[in-house]
């Protein structure tokens, strides 16, 4: 039970941790952009972690009712909704934050960025956190299992947070331009993942039609391997994605690739720190 708790909590936490890390790298990089006028305090993370945890408790409390909605596919509908809302927030971040109309409005720009990033993190916490709460809640009644599960869960959470910290420092150790580019590439994949997960959930609920498996890469990289699990948590890697999933994933990538934020990273003969 102990090991199971470590793995389970780790899997849930690591998704949120990696997401926070990437967004924190953006927060850090945005300070150098826009001539240092971008005043986005890092406290948005703490606020969204607290709000997300609260949201997870509420969502977990109402899970039985939500579960029964829409002919027992309420969970899929809500979770897909969270994923799609997160995708919209990433879209806002990539399109509206660098928009010309906000060029001179540092306050609004940083508020919008904080809103988008916090929203994505909160949704992630609500999804993953409620699963952890359900798990621990179920174990709570079993005295012999309770403390190994709590300890295991704490260790799993610790490993998850550490991985996030590693990713953060790994990204900001690059040059400013390459930090930005690497983070943007990750943002593209994260956006793709949001759409792909929503599609998977709705297919599971029979709200979207079946499409054949696009490929089977379990020979190259099985989903159950450590690298496979890590890639699943970071960018939603799947060994057997459906064609609709792949299509939406590509759509998400393209959406961010053509965004103004992405194009800031590959300007012609200009570095990130300069601003027109």
């Amino acid at each position: 039970m102990f090991l199971n708790a470590v793995v389970l909590v780790l899997q849930e936490m690591i998704e949120a941790a990696l997401l926070i890390s990437v967004l924190l790298v953006f927060t850090h990089l945005f300070r150098s952009a826009w001539n240092g006028s971008f005043n986005l305090p890092t406290s948005w993370v703490i606020v969204s972690v607290v709000a997300g945890s609260l949201g997870a408790v509420i969502y977990s409390y109402y899970t039985p009712q939500i579960s029964g909605m829409f002919d027992y596919v309420g969970q899929e509908v809500f979770n897909a909704g969270f994923h799609l809302l997160s995708l919209m927030l990433i879209f806002l971040l990539a399109y509206m934050v660098p928009h010309k109309s906000l060029a001179q409005k540092a306050l609004q720009r940083s508020q919008l960025a904080a809103f988008c990033m916090a929203g994505v993190v909160i949704f992630s916490f609500v999804r993953e956190g409620s699963e952890i709460i359900q798990y621990i809640g179920g174990i709570a009644g079993q005295d012999e299992n309770f403390s190994p599960v709590v300890v295991g869960g704490a260790i799993g959470a610790g490993i998850g947070v550490s991985t996030g910290v590693l990713l953060f420092y790994g990204l900001i150790s690059l040059s400013v331009n390459w930090s930005f580019r690497a983070s943007l590439i990750l943002l593209c994949l994260i956006a793709g993942n949001m759409g792909s997960q929503a599609v998977l959930l709705l297919t599971q609920a029979d709200w979207l039609p079946f499409t054949p498996i696009a490929w089977n890469s379990s020979i190259v990289l099985p989903e159950t391997s450590i690298v496979g699990q890590l890639l699943y948590a970071l960018i939603g890697y799947e060994a057997t994605p459906s064609m609709l999933q792949v299509a939406i994933y590509l759509f998400g990538i393209i959406l961010i690739v053509v965004s103004p934020l992405f194009r800031k990273a590959w300007p012609q003969h200009r570095s990130l720190v300069e601003e027109t």
Binding site: N4, P64, D71, Y72, V73, Y135, G141, Q142, T203, Q204
Partner: protein
Amino acid sequence: MKKLFQSAATFSIALSALAVSALSLAATPEIELIIKDHLFFPATIVIPAGQKVRVRIFNQDPTPEEFESFELNREKLVVGNGQTVIFIGPLAPGEYPFFGEFYPKTAQGMVIVK
């Protein structure tokens, strides 16, 4: 005359769409899966290849369980003393293991597609 034709066409398209969806709704077979004492009953499910199947999972334990399968690409929480529905397939013939993420040592099963 043109308006009448247009509304007739719309009506018949809507009616046939409804008929098709009703047909596919009626055609989805259902299989029951029970979780009890952190075990799946039956542990082995056999379904025909190329067929979408509705799996109704009844959790007869007081604790929640999470039905998960990497091969099937399905993951769903079932609350204690509750039920839920997931759709699997159409699948190619083969064996697709599944497990309960909360109690994986005991809750294990297999979907065999023939």
